[in-house]
């Protein structure tokens, strides 16, 4: 049974269900459960649901220490950039402790944070920094683009025995979608084809999936049938689904809200260049943010971010080069 739910709600639903399922799951963060009326607090009590001081290093470090001793903490961090003050815990502690112990400990925790808030939050609050977390062996990264994925990936994140960064996109918070009401767990490392198509492959994550699907609609009116793929997790990264699609379509456009050299798109491009280039009938094209911090003023912000038009035009240029090859 599925129910129409907002993306934000779906995350909450998964957290509630998993906390019901497993008494070892605890939740804390800043500015949550401030009063006795808080619904999570009422459900799970003061031991398992807590408010934390503005101390990301302690918050995240405590999660690591709690995880290796038997809890499964979820830390609400609000904005992914706030983790930067405590990045050692994310990059150099959580994912390394198991390995360094020769497999003796496990570190099951979820660092939950929003990102990409393109709504006038300016230079320090709305960048995309997920690339900093890629290539860190031991760390997993989920970034859902739909309400259903939001639920299924959160459930999987909480159940995972490894540290997971769960990044939800602020611009999608209110977006509705059908969400399975029962237990729903999406395995990590399985890309989802959000739209089938035959002419060209678009790969995108988060908010860019929505933009890419909109672009695909425009393109279909112009006779171009684009396939849209969302990897859903950046680590592990499902390259196979992308390569299969490229074998079908011959063209690849990678859309990413991050700047070019900070994009997951670039990593995917590298994988395809090494393992899937034969299938390409035209060079890969990246549609990313321009190389700036996010500016405050709306017209500036719009200018630097990828959008439907930029995607449409990139796809058309790839498709026309594909055609030239044939």
């Amino acid at each position: 049974m599925a129910r129409e739910m907002m993306y934000g709600e779906a995350i909450g639903a998964a957290m509630t269900e998993e906390m019901q399922r497993d008494s070892g799951v605890v939740l804390y963060g800043q500015n949550l459960a401030m009063t006795e009326r808080d619904p999570m607090l009422r459900k799970f009590g003061k031991k398992r649901v807590r408010i934390a001081p503005i101390s990301e290093t302690a918050e995240m470090g405590v999660a690591v220490g709690a995880a290796i001793t038997g809890l499964r903490p979820i830390v609400e961090l609000w904005m992914s950039e706030f983790m930067l003050v405590a990045f050692d815990q994310l990059i150099n502690e959580a994912p390394r402790l198991r390995y360094m112990s020769g497999g003796q400990v496990k570190v099951p925790l979820v660092f939950k944070a929003g990102y990409g808030f393109a709504a006038g939050w300016a230079g320090q609050h709305s960048n995309c920094i997920y690339h900093t977390m890629m290539g860190i062996p031991g760390l997993k990264i989920a970034l859902p683009s739909t309400a259903a994925d939001a639920k299924g990936l959160m459930a999987a994140a909480i159940r995972d025995d490894n540290p997971v960064v769960y990044l939800h996109h602020y611009m999608l918070t209110l977006d509705k979608g059908a969400v399975p009401e029962d237990e729903y767990v999406i395995p990590f490392g399985v890309a989802d084809v959000k739209r089938e198509g035959s002419d060209v492959t678009i790969v995108a994550t988060g908010w860019m999936v929505k933009k890419s699907l909109a672009a695909a609609e425009v393109l279909s009116q112009q006779g171009i049938n684009a396939e849209v793929i969302d990897p859903r997790t950046l680590a592990p990264l499902d390259i196979k689904t992308i390569i299969n699609s490229v074998h079908k379509t011959g063209g690849l456009v990678l859309v990413d809200q991050a700047t070019r050299h900070a994009s997951a798109a670039a990593i995917i491009a590298a994988e395809i260049a090494e393992h899937g280039s034969k299938a390409l009938k035209a060079p890969i094209k990246l549609v990313t943010a321009l190389d700036t911090s996010i500016p405050f003023s709306e017209p500036l912000e719009n200018y630097v971010l990828p959008n439907e038009e930029k995607i449409v035009s990139a796809v058309k240029s790839v498709v026309s080069r594909q055609a030239a090859t044939v």
């Binding site: 408010i51 503005i54 918070t173 321009l290 405050f296 003023s297």
Partner: protein, 343 residues
Amino acid sequence: MRKKKALTKDRLIWMYAQMVRIREFEERVKRTFVEHPGVIRGHTHLGDGAEATIVGALATRAMNDPAMPSYRCHGYPLVLGTSPRKIMAEIYGRKDGLCGGFGGSMHLADPEHHFPGTSGIIGQAIAHATGAALTAQVKDTGQVVHCFFGDGSTKQGAFYESLNLAAVWRLPIVYILENNHYQAYTHISLEDANCIAGDPLSQKAQAFSMPGVTVDGTDPLKVYAAVRTAAERARSGKGPSLIEAKFYRLSAHGNAITVPPVPTQFPEHEAVEVYGRKAEYAAAKKKDPIPRFRAALIRKGVLRIADAKRIESEAQAEMEDAVQFALASPHPTPAEAVKYVYA
């Protein structure tokens, strides 16, 4: 110790005028959410309630002392001499804004007026201010840095690391802890160990064997006296101090966080909205620093009612003009967005 010069009548009136200017400015920022919906995007934080602390501290400035607060930063540059037009235009994201629309409310910067910039990330600007004090010390400028930050920010490692480093290097800086009783939606009693124990937050200074005092941050003269002592100490090479100024933030933390296309707006104060503690908020309103300072100055014969009214109407006109200026200012040209990435 040399005798402290008392504040002159003119200076006291100037202080009152600055407090009123800050309040009138912030009132107009807040009203913009109602009167011009959609004009202010992102997250905007007001300084109403903090006026006595801001002005009391900055009234001690000498030798172009820099001021370095957090993202809640509208008030300080107003006192330093930045045009409210430019600040409002920045908050509206306009071309004529202080930062050309690149920074917005949280990131005002006006180096010409000794306001080097701010950070939206908790605690980090405490280290920046400490760095400005390093510059003053290395270049021997005689400046003392006024570093402002919230009670919540003292829960961030950057605060402690900076204070220790400043103490060890004897940097010329005064750390002004604006204890407005809340970090965003969280009351201080939920997150600060000193507060829970009933101790003042200035006790944190003892971790660095540094002078630490707590003052009534709703009284500009008390803030002035404490900061002045600390600034003199700093200027004479004796190093930093920590001053906790206790007051109450009079508006909500910031505008409600909304996802487009839901428009931004200003909620009620957290005391009421989150905790349902109306009495707490009403009591704080009664301690509003502006009417109290006004009354005190009138009582002492420093300020005449007519002068007070003139100051108030001038500030209103000045800030109304800032709104009109900002509304009329165009947005920046999109393609300019790639400027200013590198020097």
